[in-house]
Symmetry: C2
Subunit: 440 residues, 2 copies
């Protein structure tokens, strides 16, 4: 591997912009047209279309989309005990962290006689998508099912692609069931997203769709989010990213291992190291060279490392400024005092402090969610939490006196906006009260 | 007005579906093409394009887009004192309600040595849009600026269309300034949204765009939300809606006034009454006939009432079920015991309890936000609050022992997913620790 080290101080603005670029998202017109056709077919023909697309793309005929009790039982049998324990530990930690959030309900009297309140409600029906891709992802099943269960969404369903033999991955089934979702369908890709958004004979429509996916799934989600007859979605999606800030005290072996654990995700994974120490950069590169040799997924990692960026910054403040500008999905702080640095971090999905917090613990089981904003959307989106499975309603209740005291303001504002019926809705009430007082 | 009363019990499923329909959203291909052309022009040519579109659509030449100190001062002078007091009261109540939300930050130890935390951060730069349309909307400026200021977003800017004389509405300027936003630009429509999303020479790019607008603005927002180079948006938008549940104790005069205050918003406003009392329905219709005669905006209200639905339900439980299915933006409960009903409400943007809580108090100054989910999106979206001006980062920090205790689970899960570099990032750390222990 030829990994180049860039000295930020020596770069001109154009070169700096270039280093902060993300790869163009796959936005093929052909892909969007294909996805649109799938959405329309599923909407028009329901289950029949799901069967067809599953035969075409997954190369298998699925008689019964829904996973049966017998399949769940077989899955529990087939997954090794240590793996089941690991899944359960992940569920327990994710539940502990997500459950601990403070309630968002509250109530105040904004003026005497004017009571305002906010009430959280779980979304009625949510659809969770667990991709299969190059490997099964039971950890994603954990990250989606646990917060949905804590929110208390009355209907929670999960779709995951069938394998060639017509079964769903056993570990995904175990994770889903233990995470609190037993309505699972063997269907994947854009057709699964369409089925959840529009509903079919078998899969009843949901209000919001969650979870990662390939370019087809992502395109389907974004189209359905823009369709009032579709469904809301969790967040936009792009390739996974890690940015490591390391100083001269960081351990090159660990930094290299963390860069590689991101690189093995996919050829488009974004892998960035910013260090205040040129020496460290060189040692990390040498470690990467050594470690990559033994990785089963080294071809993928090599491909991701083509676009790896190793940047030397003049000091930690500079390193943080570059990171805040990039807004990475995962940010690792392997510096002398990560707590001192933390308060200046503005834009990041999830942050990992110190030598003993590799990204893979967050990916799997520290308790935080691994569904995180990518492609710079950490500037405006949060990672997945129980919040996104709920919404708030506000409530107001005025007493007669409360209405009377606020009435002049309503009338003045309605006057400014030329909305007389808005004023009348208040003045008729007050008038009536005065009339009834007068007639006493 | 010929307002028809529908008896829910007597309707077949198709008729019920028909009554629950919303009007098709304006989705003209021509409009979308025009909006796309505007977005591309603004992105390519910046301020010059803004000038051109402002000349074309607002019929005025704006030399300096940004509102000057002198213009703010003139606005404070020109708005009557009672109106300024009303704006200030609205700001104070909205601030009180929005500020009172509980903090969403928290921290727990999910396992010994594994600390997980959530930290809220204001979004760096937010763009607020206040439409002009048939009337100026200072109340919308209040609803957008106050939560943005409470969140503490470092950069907050507001765009509002210029009038023919080249000025911005004085009340909107007063509300914006007092709400905490002094970066205001006189530009409207899709071009304003494009300017905020992409940035121009004068208007620096924002991360998220908030606020209502006409079909052009809505189309621009939805296109930019799907563009990774664009900006996030607050929520999808459709025509405004009210649904009133009233029993035999409701006051027909008030119910009629509330229906009309929604109807005067626009010809596409959705106005629905569900009552358990046929008699009340008839009396409300007669009140609407009387009250509409004196309304300045009666032509608009008449047009909205064409699609008004008055439904008689067999009991309150039925009425609530219908309302939950519809998921109205505004829900008014004018029934004997609104508190008893409240706990069964699942889907609504904002709820108004009892006779003394007309929708117009929430529109203006009770303290709740009037930017609310429409068109059924109350099923998955919340009304605007401080939350939407922030996002969360999660943080994890493991001790050496914490990592050691969770390591077997990470290794097992990485094994299930075939991600060896994920496992190595943990095992290399533990191995190193063991080595250094052994060498002591």
């Amino acid at each position: 591997m030829e990994l180049k080290v860039h000295n930020w101080q020596l770069l001109d603005p154009a070169q700096r912009r270039e280093l902060m670029q993300r790869p163009a998202l796959y936005d093929d017109r052909g892909l969007r047209d294909s996805v649109r056709a799938i959405l329309e077919s599923v909407r028009a023909r329901g289950d029949a279309a799901l069967q067809e697309f599953t035969e075409r793309y997954d190369r298998v005929t699925i008689e019964t989309l829904r996973v049966s009790e017998a399949e769940f039982a077989a899955a529990e049998q087939s997954v090794p005990g240590t793996a089941i324990e690991a899944i359960q530990l992940a569920i327990d930690n994710v539940r502990r962290f997500h459950e601990a959030r403070p309630s968002s309900n509250y109530e105040i009297e904004t003026m005497p006689g004017i009571h305002c309140r906010r009430i959280a409600q779980p979304i009625d029906a949510v659809g969770l998508y667990v991709p299969a891709g190059s490997a099964p992802l039971p950890s994603t099943a954990v990250m989606l099912t646990v917060p949905a269960a804590i929110a208390g969404c009355p209907r929670r369903l999960l779709c995951t692609p069938p394998r060639r033999d017509g079964t769903a991955d056993a570990a995904v089934l175990v994770a889903a069931r233990r995470g609190g979702v037993s309505e699972v369908y063997k269907v994947g890709g854009a057709q699964a997203i369409a089925a959840m958004a529009y509903g079919t004979e078998t899969i009843a429509k949901v209000n919001k769709i969650f979870g990662p996916g390939n370019a087809w799934v992502t395109a389907a989600k974004s189209m359905l989010a823009a369709d009032a007859a579709g469904a809301a979605i969790d967040m936009p999606a792009g390739p996974s990213e890690v940015l490591i800030i390391a100083d001269e005290l960081a351990t090159p072996e660990f930094v290299a291992a963390d860069l590689l654990s991101q690189a093995e995700h996919g050829g488009d994974s974004q892998v960035i190291l910013i260090t205040t120490c040129q020496q460290l950069a060189i040692r990390v590169i040498s470690e990467v060279d050594q470690q990559i040799a033994s990785l089963p997924r080294r071809a993928i990692a090599m491909s991701a490392l083509q676009s790896c960026r190793i940047i030397v910054a003049s000091d930690i403040a500079d390193a943080i400024a570059i990171s805040n500008q990039y807004a990475p999905e995962h940010l690792l702080l392997q510096v002398r005092d990560p707590h001192a640095v933390l308060h200046s971090i503005r834009n990041a999905g999830s942050i990992f402090l110190g030598d003993w917090s590799p990204e893979s613990v967050g990916d799997y089981c520290s308790g935080t969610n691994h569904v995180l904003p990518t492609y710079g959307s950490a500037r405006s989106f949060s990672g997945l939490s129980v919040d996104q499975f709920m919404r708030h309603m506000t409530v107001q209740e005025l007493s007669e006196d409360g209405l009377r005291s606020i009435a002049p303001a309503v009338l003045a504002l309605a006057g400014l906006e030329g909305l007389d019926a808005h004023a009348a809705a208040v003045s008729r009430r007050i008038q009536q009260r005065s009339d009834s007082k007068a007639s006493r």
